[in-house]
């Protein structure tokens, strides 16, 4: 495997993180660490019913409690806070409206109906218990397929049939190709509800300064600037009067790429009460009412002719929950899953129907990889089934049908891949995992009647990154975005980078400094990166969809390029040479070929500001000419074209058919994100996302009963991967810079969640193939595996009345 090509002196270097010093010493600035004088604490009254009319709310007993300052209902907020309007600007997607506190109806367990403000969280919760809400329970629906039935409870008058959207796309001669196929293979997959589960719960602190009419909000958001604009709008304030601060944040993973109702309610309370108010979700709240994700039923058909996947057809039902996410709507999974159906393969025709369906559950939105991950599961499982049916090697079948990556390729679903190491990565990962060796071992164990079943899965993938307007359009999101970075050099040569990104573990203070260091010609130590404060950061849509390296890296490069040109002009004057002959590197500036002429970058900066020396630095003669009055602060935006990183993953698992326990033994990962900013950070993203993939594949689930009651209110129920769940992971890198983006940067981050659940599912299916087992749902916990074995073709038994109450998937066949 070749080492990645290095871009500059600093981009591509393994550099320890700037952020770590404060995070390691307990000095991080998370939302709950904010303490303001006079601060009060809020707690929400949340519906215990999945669906209920709110008949009346009596707040008097709560108000009477010592220490309670206010109790506010949805009715109280009418006219004070505008409802959230989730619209997508295209006719097929219905616009849905959500009151920030439910007024007429609670639509899921945990739906907030009132808020109590008290001296402490403890007292506020005491108050919540005294609020008397009279509910009239209504029939509820938890299964999206059930919700589509004509007699299902209707959740929103704006969404008849519980449909937020029903979109079809047909590209190419799909019916003809299916008719002419040698074989048509089909598969239905039920993907479970799960989510990012960041370790820090949601929180909001708001403070209103009435003297200047400025509202300051600290919150757990991945998108500070959009939140500023959206909250200002619903509160009836100009955005210029709202400041959003998102400093350190304990993870996001997409679950905080939204504006939450609490982010509107808490600031409204601060403004009403003229005192700072803090709300921190507890773990149950964040599980019950957070942004859920990925619950889908996908029916996939692949038409095969002469061993080629000639066409694909998919029907996607995406469970939106009770409300359409704000602001991105419920279409995140519903649009991204079908767009990703072809994956890295090249069917000439694709058709899909996708529906986003309302149910009485918490709203659904982004989680790392979004729909790509679920499409990868169903498609790769089906491809392995095709290989078994056609008696072909699953790797060869894939190699034949994959795009090569040698040239850009446009999918029938409208995505534009910019090329990469597609086949090389698959071959490399097979070598890394010793594919032939594992197959040999598998055969040996099967022949010997081994008690446990060995299985192997391989999966090549492409992963979108740099989610910009163009990528959004390709997915069916009509919006354009704005993302920018500011590079500023001070009179002493120190550099401040500010961007619209928001780091919540990705190390932007380190990586973007590396980018700027190469862009400017200074050392990373001389650069400070500031993000997450709308008062001081350049505007941007935030960090999600693997945007930062491509978009903000690109914007930094653009801005730095201009600042560097100005530095060169100034230095040309100081060194009496052509600016084109000026070399700037690691904070020194000299005439090309004559390093002895070097002056400090700081000297040039001082000259830019004062036209003369700053004490201690070398002089410049004659002051600064008028034409060299050049601001050393430049803001540039960047909206990249579509770009996709790629790679391949392989997994070896051992499955015990007597207990259903799946043990992931080894994972091999080959990854190509073009120009890497910092390989240490890239590896960290791979390892972290692979851990999440293990959880997604094997045991993570937000469970609801058929009546909508919520069954996963603690981390004993929603299980997260531990140190003991992790296999050995070997990682290799290839580097195919994008021909289209600034710096050839492709970005990555969702990686393990794009391809990981699929490869584990495939490995389990491979392990159990001799038993005739078909994998058609996740997670593959012991109960699911044993059930699959019971249902398998060879054992021939049906467990039609599978009694596990969480199965909201309708009839099991």
């Amino acid at each position: 495997m070749s080492a990645p090509r290095s871009f500059g002196r600093h981009i591509g270097q393994r550099r320890s993180r700037v952020e770590d010093a404060r995070l390691l010493t307990g000095a991080g600035g998370f939302v709950d660490d904010v303490e303001l004088s006079g601060m009060l604490h809020a707690a929400f009254v949340r519906s215990p019913h999945a669906h209920a009319r709110i008949v009346a709310i009596d707040v008097e007993p709560a108000l009477a409690l010592d220490g309670v300052h206010a109790v506010v209902t949805g009715q109280d907020l009418r006219g004070v806070v505008e409802p959230f309007v989730s619209a997508l600007g295209r006719p097929e997607v219905r616009t849905l409206v959500r009151d920030v506190l439910a007024v007429d109806r609670a639509r899921h367990v945990g739906d907030a109906v009132a808020v109590v403000v008290g001296d402490s969280r403890y007292v506020a919760e005491d108050g919540c218990e005294l609020v008397r809400v009279e509910y009239e329970p209504l029939p509820a629906v938890a299964d999206p397929c059930r919700a589509l039935e004509p007699d299902a409870p209707q959740l929103d008058p704006s969404a008849p049939g519980n449909l937020v959207a029903d979109i079809t796309l047909e590209s190419g001669e799909v019916p003809a190709l299916f008719d002419a196929a040698d074989h048509v293979f089909r598969k239905r997959l039920k993907a479970q509800r799960h989510w990012g589960a960041p370790l820090e719960a949601d929180g909001v602190v708001a403070s209103f300064d009435a003297t200047i009419g400025e509202l300051t909000i600290w919150c757990t958001t991945q998108m500070p600037h959009p939140t500023q604009a959206l909250i200002a709008a619903v509160l009836g304030l100009p955005a210029s009067q709202v400041r959003v601060i998102a400093r350190d944040m304990g993870g996001g993973f997409g679950s905080r790429a939204r504006t939450s109702i609490e982010e509107a309610v808490i600031p409204a309370l601060a403004r009403m009460l003229r005192r700072p108010v803090k709300w921190i979700a507890d773990r149950s709240e964040t599980l019950i009412a957070g942004v859920h994700a990925k619950e889908m039923v996908v029916d996939l058909g692949i038409a095969v002719r002469d061993g080629w996947f000639v066409a694909m057809r998919a029907d996607v039902i995406s469970d939106a929950g009770a409300y359409s996410l704000f602001p991105f709507t419920s279409m995140v999974d519903a649009l991204s899953a079908p767009a990703a159906i072809p994956g890295i393969y090249q069917p000439s025709a694709v058709a899909y129907r996708t529906r986003s369906v309302l149910t009485n559950k918490s709203w659904s939105g982004p989680y790392r990889g979004i729909g790509q991950g679920v499409s990868q599961v169903v498609r790769e499982l089906l491809i392995d089934e095709i290989a078994r049916a056609l008696n072909e090697d699953p790797v060869e079948l894939r190699l034949r049908n994959m795009a090569s990556g040698e040239r850009p390729y446009r999918t029938p679903t409208g995505l534009g891949y910019d090329g990469g190491s597609y086949r090389q990565a698959l071959r490399a990962v097979c070598e890394m995992i010793d594919y032939d060796g594992v197959r040999g071992e598998q055969q040996r164990r099967r022949a010997a009647g081994h008690a446990s079943c060995l299985g192997i899965g391989v999966g090549p993938y492409v992963e979108f990154s740099g989610w910009s307007g163009e990528l959004g359009h390709a997915h069916g999101y009509p919006s354009d975005y704005f993302d920018s970075a500011t590079v500023s050099v001070g009179p002493d040569g120190s550099v401040v980078i500010s961007t619209g990104a928001q780091s919540h573990g990705q190390g932007h203070e380190t990586t973007l400094a590396q980018v700027a260091a190469d862009g400017l010609g200074v050392r990373p130590e001389d650069i400070v990166v500031r993000e997450g404060d709308t008062a001081t950061s350049a505007w941007g849509m935030g960090t999600w969809g693997s945007r930062t390296a491509v978009i903000y890296g690109g914007a930094v490069l653009r801005a730095a390029r201009e600042v560097r040109e100005r530095i060169a002009q100034l230095a040309g004057h100081m060194l009496e040479c052509d600016p084109a002959d000026v070399v700037i590197e690691d904070g020194l500036v000299w005439v090309s070929g004559s390093p002895s002429t070097a002056i400090a970058f700081a000297d040039v900066a001082g000259f830019a500001y004062f036209g003369t020396e700053i004490a201690g630095h070398s002089a410049s003669r004659g002051g600064r000419p008028a034409e060299l009055e050049l601001p050393l602060s430049v803001t540039r935006s960047y909206s990249p074209p579509q770009t996709f990183s790629n790679g391949a993953v392989a997994a070896v698992v051992e499955v015990r058919p007597d207990t259903g326990v799946v043990n992931v033994e080894r994972i091999a990962f080959v990854e190509d994100c073009g120009t890497m900013l910092n390989p240490m950070i890239v590896d960290g993203q791979i390892r972290g996302s692979v851990a999440q993939a293990i959880g997604a594949a094997l045991f993570e689930e937000l469970s609801y009963a058929e009546d909508g009651s919520f069954l996963s209110p603690t981390l004993q129920d929603y299980l997260l991967p531990t140190t003991l769940d992790m296999p050995a992971i070997e990682i290799g890198h290839l580097a195919t810079p994008s021909p289209l983006t600034e710096g050839g940067i492709k970005g990555m981050g969702e990686v393990g969640m794009v391809c990981g659940p699929a490869v584990i599912a495939c490995a389990v299916a491979d392990a159990l193939a001799p038993l005739g087992v078909s994998v058609d749902r996740l997670p593959l916990d012991p109960d699911a595996v044993l059930e699959a074995i019971r249902r398998s073709a060879l054992t021939g038994t049906h467990d039609a009345a599978h009694e596990r109450p969480t199965q909201t998937g309708g009839t099991r066949t």
Binding site: L24, T25, G28, D32, L199, G250, G684, A691, T723
Partner: protein
């Protein structure tokens, strides 16, 4: 008639809780129901210890009490009265990191940093009783600390490196 919980029960009202934290005597007034983690964070201003679940599952609240690793979200502050607490703030400062902290930094054992204080205290407890743990021992000891970002590999490597560094220090 006002129905109000036992808010006038004197034995539920705030009491002075005194204990030693990071080597210093500290005290504050808090209701008996105040969780130790809240007492540390909000009454004593030591915000390095984090709240992740209040169920004792995630380990973000881990501190040492009389040298033992405990979940501060599952203790009442009053239960620690008279005890000796160590939090992450006792380990080191940005300009003088503890070898465990240095190892975490070197091996990219943190991303968002929210779980990190809990892991650091768990690591301190582990290395105090096992100066040269194997990888399996490290993983088993840390199985009660959840990290959602890193996938644990960096943490496990860092703990091993810290063990060696501390061993070298002792000579």
């Amino acid at each position: 008639m006002r129905t109000v919980p036992t808010s006038h029960d004197p034995e539920a009202d705030p009491v002075t809780i005194a204990l030693t934290v990071n080597g210093e005597p500290r005290s504050a007034s808090a209701e008996p129901r105040t969780l130790l983690v809240d007492f540390l964070r909000h009454h004593l201003g030591l915000t390095g210890t984090h709240v992740g679940c209040e169920q004792g599952v995630c380990g973000a609240c881990s501190v040492l009490l009389d040298g033992e690793l405990v979940r501060s979200c599952l203790m009442l502050a009053i239960q620690a009265a008279g005890g000796r607490i160590e939090t992450v703030e006792s380990l080191g400062r940005p300009d003088s990191l503890h070898p465990i902290q240095m190892a975490f930094r070197e091996h990219h054992a943190l991303q968002c940093g929210f779980c990190t204080p809990g892991f650091l205290m768990a690591t301190k407890a582990l290395l105090a009783e096992n100066a040269a743990p194997s990888e399996a021992e490290i993983r088993d000891y840390l199985r009660g600390n959840i990290c959602r970002c890193t996938g644990y590999a960096g943490i496990v490597t860092a703990v091993g490196a810290a063990a060696r560094a501390l061993g070298d220090e002792r000579g």
